[in-house]
Each structure stands twice: as structure tokens, then as C-alpha cells.
Amino acid sequence: MTTKVVTQKQMYKYFTIHIITTIIMFMIGIVLQQSGYSAPLGVLIGACIGIVITFFSIAFAKRRPDAFFVHYGADIVTRWLHYPLMAFIIMTNFLLVAINLWEIQDLLLQFYLTGTPSWIILGLCGLCISYMARYGIKSMFRAAEGMFYLSMITFIIIPYLVHSNMEWFLARGFATIASVKEAWPTAYHLGSIFGEASLILYIYPYISQASYTRKTTIRFTMLAALMVICHLIPILIVLGPDLAQNLNYPELDIIRLIKSGSYLETLDPIIIALWLVSIFIKLSFILFVISHMLSRILKLKYSKPLIYPICAFIIVSTICLAQSHTQFFSMHNGGVSTCVYISQLIPLLYYVIDVMRNRRQQMEEESL
């Protein structure tokens, strides 16, 4: 019997942070490249995709609210199918952590710590995330709860602070240029990130008041979408789509425009530091899910002793992920989102099979 340690409030705060950190820090450049003025529309569509995926996994989780998917999955499909599928999901989550870590070290190496060997930075990040993950499920959600208002303030304050630099004539583009066709790539990429909320399935037995989970999902997805749009629009209005497309981190350039009086020239290191903390929380959650799943697949009783080794493995694979910046960014069009989608939709397969089996059983019982 697992204890229900995660409250709905904590979940709301955690997943809001989970979704917006990656999008705002790393995805905005790509999104603007592909959609330009249609990006906000794409965010909305992506949020809807995310909600749908998450709803499927919640509906599936509800069928056995007190058991872990990794355990009972083998009963639904056969064991021979279950373990490869689980391995695929684990690998995808692995990849997510590795990609995020790669992006963090790339950002830091480009702007702040030029010349530092990347493995030291990765090691420090790894230490942080595995230290948090090792404390168990409670710690990430509590951390998000404590951080929520602070990180929300830093996320909200940026659009506000740059408002003097806005070129309002560019705003016309939203009305004239937006189209669903252009918005679709954004929706596709962001949908996979919004869909990451479907990780709820793997921690469902820990959630208290689980009947409200769907409501909470809508709330945090909406808030996250709103926050992302709040960042996209200023970037489009300040930099314009053409300039923003060619920047790897347009968000950083926006922050650099902020001049709060003459006391501080730029705030970006501090804001980046705060964002990093948010991303660490997110990564430690995924790391926790990985170790949780792995320990249950391998029939090990405790997942705690797996966390540091898994993290070390992830760091090594991060180093081997890509050799250059261009190579890495080409990957964003190269199927990561699809890979993530597939891993998110695997529970749907289980769901369908489970429902069909139940129906058949009922039919058989009725016929008897």
C-alpha cells in the first residue's frame, strides 16, 4: 500500500513548472522558426493535444487506482510485449533527460562558462537532480510547491519588463498572418511537451484525491499555455519573427533588453539560475519515474539505490548525444517529438486492450 503523498495543489504547481520551463527556455526558438506569427495558435492546439493524451492516461490509471502500471501492465498484454514496451518508455524518458541536460550545458557553455569542460557542468547538474530524486516522490512536488510563486514571478516579470521595447506595429501580424497550417508544427512539437503530464499514470497511486486529477490537468495546462503565450507575444513584438528565428535562445536576448534602472545592467544570470532550478525539479521527477519503473521491471524492491547510477549513465549518454550545436538542433526536426508521442500513447494501447478484454469477459459471463 503506497501512501498518498502528492496533493492536487502540488500537482498543479509542479506540472505548470514542468511544462513551461522547457518550452520557454529551449523550444521558443524552434517554435518561432517553424510558425512565426502563428505560434500562439500552435501553443493552444498543442495544449489541447497534451490534455487529450493526459486524459487517456488518467482514464487508464483510474481502472486500477492503487496499483502501478508497470506491475499490472503485464497482465493486460502479455509479458513478452509488456517489457519491450516499458523499455521503450524508459528509453524515451532517458532521452528527455539527456536532451534537457545537453541543452542546459550548451546554454551555459555558450554564454557564461566558456571554456569549462562540459562533463563538469553535467556532473554538477546530475548531482543536483539525483540528490533530489533520491529523496523520493515527495521532494519534487514539495520543491515545486515552494518554488512556484518565485518562478512564476520570474516568468511573468520578463514580458512586463520589456514592454518599453515593444514595437506595436508588429502586432498586426497576429491578425493578418496567423494560419492553422503554419501553426501545426508548433502544435506538434509542443503537444509532446504538454503531453508529458501523462507521466501521472506512473505515479497515480501516490496521488491523493485522485478523482480531481482531470480538473487539475486542465488547470495546469491552461496556465502553462497562457504563460507560454505571454512569452511568445513579447518576443514576436520586440524582435519580430525574422530576427527571432535566427536566435538559438531568443528568450535570453529578450532578458538582455531589460535594464532595471541603472542598478543592474542585466538580470539574465539570475533569471537563468532560477530557471535552472525549475528544470532541475522537472528532470529529477523524470529520473525518479525512470528508476521507479526500472526497479519494478527488474523486480527490485527499492528504487533509491538505482538513482545515482542511472544518472551517471544519463550523463554519459548526454556527452555522447551530439557532437555539435547544429547537429543537436537538427534533431528537433528529426523525430524526438514523435518518439515521445509514441511513448505517451503506449498506455492507450493497453487501455484499448483492457477495455476489449473486459467486454469479452462480460459477454462470456452473460452468455453463461
Partner: protein, 549 residues
């Protein structure tokens, strides 16, 4: 054939194993039997001795006590005879026993009377209770009597009577109650606890005159027999909490309990953490208010410090002064405290990070000033900060140890002369001196000394991280500290309670100091069941007045 052989061999091996097991078992049984016999013999010897000690005869008993208190210089055996011929002995420790009272209230009445029969004497003393002494009681077991003597009581033995009279005239010198030396306030009460636990409990009882204030007494320390008292409000304090404190304390078996810190480190949730998870105070008003909130206080004899559990990091950031000052001012001061908490452990590392990695963050003119000041300094910022911080810590430590009469001189030399000279000589920059002094002041704004200390110590690794990774390093360090604090618990209460996990009710006393008439409920982490603290609308009179107008 081979298979048969194999089977045979296996059977043989099995048999051998069984034999071995049997032998081992029998050995074990023998051992245990021997141990039991030994214990039995010991017990028998003890009982024999006890029986000697509790026999009605005076001489063997006296012998027993004398044997036990051999080579104890301060023990006094006063032998005397009450008319007609009842021989008695008064045993006490001189210096801990008020002999004048005993002379007046015991020896005078006893020696002034004539008891013809032994029964008369015992009736006078035990049944009719005619001695002019309150709290008079008796013991049968010699061991108890011995303990009573060691605690400063007097013991009276009679010929032909197994019961021993305990005279409650323990009297030893204690310090008088003085003003709290470490937690001073402007408006609140000045009293502080002293070393004597009886006085300390009376200080609590004087504030909470309720039978619900329970004071459970325990004795710890094989040799010290130190009194330890758990104080809590019945009905307000969670039962589970009291059970938990009792359970943890029950594991304590040590030769001496000389201070409350021994108990603290034994019962604390995680003793390897830099954050202490039990609050301590020397002020009876703080203890009383905590008890009224539903917490448990642990008082230890010979310690002027009481322990409070559970605690959170925020209750360590509160000073008792907050509750005596105007709430608006107190709230503002609280925010200053939170600000300086961060300054106290982030400022030096921030300076290092900015001056080494993020020079673009500070405006150009300030940058020029800082850079020109640092121009002559031969060390990198990290080393400079380390030197200054460590010498500051050394100064602080020295100022605690230095005798008061020369303390001022040393601090003037240390702070002013060395500081100025170091700057003029170009060893450290002026900016660094300013930063170190601000940090030093900031660390003393934190009301709880141990919290300030732990933050002061964590500053050093953070400085290292800042020197190697800039603000990113600080972020990582903060994240690790945050994660650690997040997962600490003090008797089941998360250490960062109203923040993470967030709790709106308890937050009332954290993000602001709510006025007293608004604090209708106790903080929910301490007393979840009985939260009503006062009648709602404590300022109802005002509504009434406005109605009249």
C-alpha cells in the same frame, strides 16, 4: 551406481550438517543456561544484600550504607538515641542538605519527647504523621534511600523499623534568575531559565496556571541520574507527538546527561544535517507560548536551556520580540530578517560570482570602482573572500573566548586596525571588507544562533561553487541546500512547513506577524485537532461601538 553413491554422500553430508546444527544448538543452550544461572546468582546476591539492607535491624543496614558510601567525604552519619533507647541514624550529604531545618523540625521534637515503646515512635512518625514536616515520606528499599541521599535528601533509619524516613530538605546553592543573556528583548519579560529544573518548572507554571499543563518526569544518566521533564498541554498537544518523544527518549541510556544537547542529538530526526531540527531557548515565555501552540518542551536539570519540538525553519526565524512589538513593525522586521538571511550566506558568493564571471551585470561605473579597488590585490576574488571570511569567523570565535575585560581591545584591533591596514597594504580590497562586514552583521540578525551558524558554515562551499561556476554554481548549491531542507522533518513536521508543503493557516505567522486578535487558531502543524485559540471577534467591542454611532 554413481547416482547411488552421490545420494549416499548427500545423505551423509546432510547428517553431518544436522549433527553440527544439533551441537551448535546444544552449545547455545548451554551458554544461555549458564548466562541465566549467572544472572540468577547475581540476582540472588542482590536480593540478599537488599534483604540485609531492608531488614529491621539497624546495624547491618548502617553497614550497608557505609559500604556504599565508602570514601565519600561529604556524607554524614549522625547517630543518636531517642528516649528510651531507640537508636536512630540520620544520613545526609553535607552541603546539599539543610541541616538547620532538620535540627529544628526533626531532631528537636524527637529528642524532646519520650517514647516508652517502639510502637509509639513509629506511630508518631509514620501513622499519625506528627512531625512538623510537609512532603515527608518513607521508602523501604535501601537503593531508593541511597538515591535520595545522593539527591540531597536526608534519610532517617530506626532500630527495628524497616521503613526509612526521607527528609525533603535538599538545599543547595543555585544561581538566581537573571535577565536572558542571549535572547534579549525590549518589551517582553526579562526572566531566563536557570540551572535548577524545579525553578524552571515553576517559571512555566507561573505562566500557565492550568492542570492541563503536564510535566512528566524521567531520570536519565546511569551515574548522573539527571531529571528530565516533558512539558506539554494535554488536549492541545497531539498524542502521537507525545508518544513519539517518549519513545525516542526511552532509547537514551548514557552514563551522564550533563546538558540538553545530549538529549537533543539523541532524539533529533537527522543528526548529520547542518540544520538542527529542535529549537532551543532560554526564555520561559517562549516555552510557554510554544506549549500553548501544542508543542512539547523538554527541560533538563542543570541546563538553563529548554528544547522545543517540533520546529520549522520559520519558527527559528521568529524572535519573541516580534510578539511584543506592534505587529506592523514586527512584520516589517521579519522581512528584513528574511532578506538578511539570504545576504548572510549569499552575498560573498554573489560578489565572487559577479566579479569573476558576470561582470556585465553591474553598471559600468560601479564596475570601474570595484575593478580599480581590486587592481592592487594580488589574490583572485575567491581566495580574497575566503581569507576574509575565515579571519572574520576566527575573530568571532575569539571574541567568545576572550575574557570580557580585554575583549573590546581585541575586537577593535581585529576589526578596525587590521581591516584598515589590510586594505591600505593592498592585501584585500575595500569592497571585500564591506561585504564581509555586512555578511557578519547579517548572520547575527537571525534570532536562532544555531540556524545562523549553519548558514554561516554553508557559505563556504557556496563560495567555492561561485568561484568555479559563477551564479550557476550558486544556483546548484542553493538547490542542494533547498532539497536537503525540504526533506528534513522534525517529529513528523516538514522543516519548511508553511512554504513547502504549503499551508495557508500556518502561513499567517510566517509571512507576516498577524495581530493577536487575528490569530484565532493555532498553527495546524503542531495542534491539528484542537486549533481554536481564542474567541472570534476579539475586537468585538469596536463593532459594538460603531453600531452605537
Amino acid at each position: 551406481m554413481k547416482q547411488e553413491e552421490k545420494e549416499k554422500r548427500e545423505k551423509l553430508v546432510q547428517l553431518e550438517q544436522q549433527n553440527e546444527q544439533m551441537q551448535q544448538q546444544s552449545q547455545l543452550e548451554q551458554l544461555t543456561q549458564r548466562e541465566q544461572q549467572d544472572q540468577q546468582m547475581k540476582q540472588d546476591a542482590m536480593e540478599q544484600q537488599e534483604s540485609i539492607a531492608s531488614s529491621p535491624e539497624l546495624a547491618p543496614r548502617l553497614e550497608w550504607f557505609k559500604l556504599r558510601l565508602e570514601r565519600v567525604a561529604e556524607v554524614v552519619f549522625h547517630e543518636f538515641t531517642v528516649d528510651y533507647g531507640h537508636s536512630c541514624v540520620l544520613i545526609y550529604m553535607s552541603g546539599m542538605f539543610d541541616i538547620k531545618q532538620a535540627e529544628r523540625n526533626l531532631l528537636e521534637p524527637l529528642l524532646g519527647k519520650v517514647f516508652y515503646m517502639k510502637d509509639e515512635l513509629t506511630q508518631y512518625l509514620f501513622s499519625r504523621n506528627q512531625l512538623p514536616v510537609t512532603e515527608l515520606h518513607w521508602v523501604d528499599r535501601a537503593a531508593d534511600a541511597l538515591q535520595a541521599i545522593l539527591q540531597g535528601y536526608g534519610i532517617l533509619l530506626f532500630q527495628g523499623e524497616p521503613r526509612m524516613l526521607v527528609l525533603p530538605y535538599a538545599n543547595y546553592e543555585t544561581r538566581s534568575i537573571v535577565e536572558a543573556p542571549n535572547e534579549t528583548v525590549l518589551r517582553g519579560p526579562r526572566e531566563a531559565f536557570i540551572e535548577d529544573i524545579g525553578v524552571n518548572i515553576s517559571l512555566l507554571r507561573r505562566r500557565i496556571k492550568s492542570p492541563l499543563l503536564k510535566t512528566e518526569e524521567y531520570t536519565f544518566g546511569r551515574h548522573t541520574s539527571t531529571r528530565v521533564v516533558l512539558a506539554y498541554m494535554e488536549g492541545i498537544c497531539k498524542d502521537s507527538l507525545i508518544h513519539e518523544v517518549r519513545r525516542r527518549i526511552s532509547y537514551l541510556d548514557i552514563d551522564g546527561v550533563l546538558s540538553s544537547s545530549q538529549i537533543e542529538e539523541t532524539i533529533t530526526d537527522r543528526s548529520s544535517s547542518p540544520f538542527t531540527q529542535i529549537q532551543y531557548t532560554e526564555r520561559p515565555d517562549v516555552v510557554s507560548s510554544s506549549i500553548l501552540e501544542g508543542r512539547v518542551a523538554i527541560l533538563v536539570d542543570n541546563t538553563p536551556i529548554a528544547l522545543l519540538a517540533p520546529t520549522t525553519i520559520f519558527s527559528k526565524m521568529q524572535s519573541s520580540e516580534d510578539y511584543y512589538q506592534n505587529f506592523v513593525a514586527a512584520t516589517a522586521i521579519r522581512y528584513i530578517r528574511y532578506l538578511f538571511l539570504f545576504i548572510s550566506f549569499l552575498l560573498p558568493s554573489f560578489y565572487i560570482a559577479i566579479s569573476t564571471f558576470h561582470a556585465e551585470m553591474i553598471p559600468f561605473r560601479l564596475l570601474v570602482t570595484v575593478a580599480s579597488a581590486r587592481e592592487v590585490v594580488p589574490f583572485p576574488a575567491l581566495l580574497e573572500a575566503f581569507i576574509m571570511e575565515i579571519s572574520f569567523e576566527a575573530l568571532r570565535e575569539a571574541s567568545v573566548r576572550i575574557p570580557k575585560s580585554i575583549g573590546q581591545t581585541v575586537s577593535i584591533i581585529g576589526a578596525l586596525i587590521i581591516g584598515t591596514a589590510a586594505v591600505q597594504a593592498g592585501i584585500v580590497s575595500a569592497a571585500m571588507v564591506i561585504i564581509v562586514s555586512v555578511t557578519g552583521i547579517a548572520s547575527f540578525i537571525i534570532p536562532s544562533f544555531d540556524l545562523g551558524l549553519s548558514f554561516r558554515l554553508m557559505r563556504f562551499p557556496l563560495m567555492l561553487l561561485a568561484g568555479t561556476f559563477g551564479i550557476f554554481g550558486i544556483a546548484c548549491g542553493m538547490f542542494l541546500i533547498y532539497t536537503h531542507a525540504l526533506n528534513l522533518e522534525s517529529f513528523g513536521v516538514p522543516y519548511l512547513t508553511p512554504m513547502a508543503p504549503s499551508n495557508r493557516d500556518s502561513a499567517k505567522d510566517v509571512w507576516m506577524r498577524a495581530p493577536w486578535w487575528r490569530m484565532n487558531e493555532r498553527p495546524s502543524f503542531a495542534a491539528p485537532n484542537n486549533r481554536n485559540r481564542q474567541k472570534k471577534q476579539a475586537r468585538g467591542w469596536k463593532l459594538e461601538q460603531e453600531d452605537l454611532e
